[in-house]
Amino acid sequence: MERLTGRALIASRCAKFFKNGDFVNLGIGVPLMCVNYLPEGVDIWLEAEIGTVGSGAVPKWENVDVDVIDAGGQPASIIKGGSVYDHETSFAFIRGGHIDAAVLGTLQVDEEGNIANWTIPGKFVPGMGGAMDLCAGVKKIIVATDHCEKSGKSKILKKCTLPLTGANCVTDIVTEKCYFEVTSNGLLLKELAKDYTVEDVLACTEADVIVPDKIGVME
């Protein structure tokens, strides 16, 4: 099998969290790439905030249905057995604890499981959309992110400095370098991607990291 790196590796690792039949919400970008890496025998019900249960592949232009769209307003499809709901039912799924896992991108995440991904005051103010509801209601919040900003600054912090999207809600953090589980004692380094050492990870992680004796390989 082709060896994955970077964002493909992040998506592939995140996809391994899902069990067959899970009800899952995936953010735009790397999170949505997870559907391309579902393990053999695992299929999921993908939720779209507009009110779709069972979002399918992006259709070709000749097959688009103007009444079927994704959370970003782009053309979408619905799988066999899928269904459509109104907006408040969609958020009842999310807030009501009915969704098994969500994968979110982020600007910052910290060792207490806080996440900040909706605004940089004065610069980037798009609004939070559905992200705060996901953080409040979904059991497993997986953060899929580059380990550092483009400037090289760590995104994995002791304490988020930007306004929070959710407090103490993140359960897992997957970057191109490693996978951390968020525990009550802090970030536990569970797996390392090939080419990276514990020292590499510690050097670019501002948060305190618990380094166990045995660390798995992330793939």
Binding site: V66, H87, E88, G127, M128, G129, L164
Partner: protein, 258 residues
């Protein structure tokens, strides 16, 4: 006997109106809810009519700021909106510019909270208790209550003078139905305004929409306006994306010939 009389009354009360009649209900300074999703599934022809009529100073409530050429976004670009209660403005950069320049007052609500605030407004509820936003700046100015050991924020209802709904189909009595994702926020907002105007693609006689096909019932709806333009146009965002994809495919084909 009674049934027969009522049937006749419903047939007499057609709610189908012209665009001018619909626009006659819309005035400067009103609070208006817009049903849509990033400006798709919006009452496009009535919104265009509002721009032509010169309606301004609108307090808008919409799930997003649309796009500059879609939905409520068009009214924002034309500077007809003074305030907006919404969840996301990322696809309409003009809304962001106006907000940072102090021209457009924006209140952000998390999306599920926005939905429930609208629902409360339409359902006679004084608000809802949500865990969403606990521990974030959404707490600011709100009551926090502990229920069964968990913290919740009290979020207040939203209500409007007018709801501008887009539906797929209506009957003349005002029953409406939505196809696929197009209900979006449209079904929820229909309950949360004093006066409800619905733009539809098609209208049918009473009885043609069966009880299970009706998503919002006639008593909730005040006016039905039937679109005169294309029923299901590709929205501008999709037109651009399609043109880009076609240009790319063409360039690839031509490149391949060399």
């Amino acid at each position: 006997m009674n049934y027969y009389i009522r049937k006749v009354v419903i047939q007499l009360l057609s709610k189908v109106v012209t665009k001018e009649e619909a626009l006659s209900k819309i005035h400067d300074g009103q609070t208006i809810m817009f049903g849509d999703w990033h400006g798709e599934f919006a009452a496009d022809e009535i919104i265009d009519g509002m721009i032509e009529k010169g309606v301004k100073d609108i307090a808008a409530i919409a799930v997003s700021a649309g796009m500059p050429d879609q939905g409520v976004g068009k009214l924002i670009v034309e500077k007809r909106i003074k305030s907006l209660i919404t969840t996301h403005i990322g696809l309409n950069p003009v809304a962001g510019e106006q907000m940072l320049a102090g021209e457009l007052e924006i209140e952000f609500s998390p999306q599920g909270t926005w939905a429930e605030r609208v629902r409360c407004g339409g359902a006679g509820l004084g608000g809802c208790l949500t865990p969403t936003g606990v521990g974030t700046e959404m707490e600011k100015g709100k009551q926090k209550l502990m229920i069964n050991g968990k913290e919740y924020l009290l979020e207040l209802p939203l209500h409007a003078d007018i709801a501008l709904v887009k539906a797929t189909k209506a009957d003349t009595a005002g029953n409406i139905s939505f196809r696929m994702n197009s209900r979006a926020t449209n079904s929820t907002i229909a309950y949360a305004a004093d006066f409800v105007i619905v733009e539809v693609e098609d209208v049918v006689e009473v009885g043609e929409l069966g009880p299970e096909e009706i998503d919002v019932p006639a008593p909730i709806i005040d006016m039905i306006y039937v679109k005169t333009g294309e029923k299901k146009p590709l929205c501008p965002m999709w037109q651009r994306a399609k043109a880009k994809a076609e240009a790319k495919a063409k360039a690839k084909a031509e490149g391949g010939k060399k």
